[in-house]
Amino acid sequence: MTDAKRPAPSAGDARPAPAQMAGIPKGLWHKCPKCRAMLYQKELERNLRVCGSCQYHFPLSTAERIAMLADEGAFAEIDANLLPVNPLGFPDYADKLARGRAKAGQNEAFVYGDAEIAGAPVVLGVANFGFMGGSMGSVVGEKVARALERGAELGRPVVLVCASGGARMQEGMVSLMQMAKTAAACERLKAAGQLYITILTDPTTGGVWASFASLGEIIIAEPAALIGLTGPRVLEQNLKVKLPPGTHTAEFQLAHGMVDLVVHRRELRGTVTRLLTMLAPARAAAAPAVE
């Protein structure tokens, strides 16, 4: 179901590894993995980590993503202290969690909290592909459900930035049940009449795409992001077929009616803001003041 063999766009914390070519100061230059252009670090940052020559969207760290979407200083993380356990006693899981934690610099593959976007209060969640491929175990599922329930209870829109290789294998069916749990929570948010936006980044696959990610009332994807139940590489390996180019991309899903918009990163915050302005106008003001 997942595309776990797909090489992670980054080996570490969901940022591209710094270019390490001879003569180029480490960390100052990055090579675009798509067009091979050498990109100056500052320039890349100014471009929201989009390649200026081919528009490849580099992965963002959680902090970068929040900075890009939320108003400055307006994000307050919730439930940062939730930690995964090993419900099945799965071999190696503890090690892998420790490694993921060290690499990503966060407790799990998903962070959420209260935020404001252009002044509109929202609940904002961000997945981190760098933590065990953004896979959804109990903690991710719990945080996603809490984010959605918080939106329903406080009368706030929920914006979730998705990135995942799928369900977390090491938690077995406990992991898979997070699909049901988050899907049910989506319904609660919708029943409360609150806007629910999902933002699909590269890659959004498996059990995440087949649950809360595809239940967005409005679904936005970043250009060229890999999106699908089973990634094309896994399909090609398992079925010994060659897929036509361009399948399982954001643009493919747009053409097949599965996402509303493919939006360049530079227009992402603007698009979300416009939707929030139009679909959560009075509610923002009427929401009870908490914290």
Binding site: L82, D92, G172, V174, A183, A184, L235
Partner: protein
């Protein structure tokens, strides 16, 4: 009924005894010498061994058993359990998916709406049923049935038996992920009692898509798994990325009925008859019937608002984690 023509590896000792019995019976017939005493002894030995083997099955044994080609499939159970069944077809959108069957059935006068994945037994039917892997139109047909159940206030009964949802390109193009997510979401708010039973392979999101139920039962030797253990072994370095170590992954994934019950992910294990469902389909069906006859009235006694709230709370509580002291 269905003959037990195929033997699984762990059934080898049983197969040997069966073969001895067969030869003795043949001998009796052809030579006219009565070997019934010996046959009786062998039968007793067979039965004792059967009990012993089937009470010590590994997770991998159960994986093989859950996929046993002679194991009853959804339409077999439907025929055996219900007095009447009108199969309905189509998602009103694109097509009719033979990997997902659906219809209206009567359980001793109690009307239920039935959905479930359907595998095929022979080569032709396997292809026709897509090996029990439903496509978007299958899940959308199931969703249409959910509406019927809700509208008429009758329980929905879901039979789960699928290796996984279909993930190939045509299914992707029509939104298999959306179909799975939507089906789960729909069940989570359905204003009707929902009963599900994992009868064979409960595989992946394709299984859980129709498994968000008030009461989830599992047959004793069924499995409920995040993915096929061979696949898990093939992609995790834990198992050396070696698909042939599926037996280890099966153990690690805790995919048996007993483990799923222990983990709180299913509500009940329905014992199978002596030697597994494929040895006595009718008795298996009787046990499912008994389970339904017990559980449906319990669920129907709960006011629907409470029922939906209870269902939400049940799935909401699934997951294990801890909170670090800050």
């Amino acid at each position: 009924m269905i003959s037990t023509s195929r033997w699984l590896p762990f059934e080898k000792p049983l197969q040997d005894i069966d073969e001895q019995i067969r030869r003795l019976e043949e001998y009796t017939t052809t030579h006219g010498i009565d070997r019934s005493e010996k046959i009786r002894e062998l039968r007793e030995e067979h039965d004792a061994l059967c009990v012993q083997i089937f009470s010590n099955l590994s997770a991998w044994d159960k994986t093989l058993l859950a996929r046993h080609p002679n194991r009853p499939y959804t339409l077999d159970y439907i025929r055996m359990i219900f007095d009447d069944f009108v199969e309905l077809h189509g998602d009103r959108r694109f097509g009719d998916d033979p990997a997902m069957v659906a219809g209206i059935a009567s359980l001793q006068g109690q009307t239920v709406v039935v959905i479930g994945q359907q595998k095929g037994r022979d080569v032709k039917e396997r292809t026709y049923r897509n090996f029990g892997s439903a496509k978007p139109e299958g899940y959308r047909k199931a969703e249409r049935m959910m509406d019927i159940a809700e509208r008429h206030g009758v329980p929905l009964v879901s039979f789960i038996d699928t290796p996984a949802a279909e993930g190939r390109l045509d299914a992707e193009e029509r939104g298999i992920s959306e179909a799975i997510a939507s089906s789960m979401a729909h069940l989570s708010r359905l204003r009707a009692p929902v009963f599900a039973i994992v009868t064979g392979e409960g595989g992946s999101g394709g299984a859980i898509a129709i498994g968000v139920a008030d009461h989830v039962a599992m047959l004793e030797h069924a499995i409920y798994s995040i993915m096929p253990p061979e696949g898990c072994a093939a992609i995790l370095d834990t198992f050396g990325r070696d698909g042939s170590r599926g037996y280890q992954a099966a153990e690690a994934l805790k995919l048996t009925a007993q483990m799923n019950l222990e983990l709180g992910l299913v509500d009940e294990v329905v014992p199978e008859p002596f030697g597994g469902a494929h040895r006595d389909p009718l008795e298996t069906a009787h046990r499912i019937t008994a389970c339904l006859r017990q559980r449906l009235p319990e669920l129907q006694a709960i006011p629907v608002d409470a029922l939906v709230g209870r269902r939400y709370a049940k799935f909401r509580a699934m997951g294990q984690f801890t909170a670090e002291m800050s």
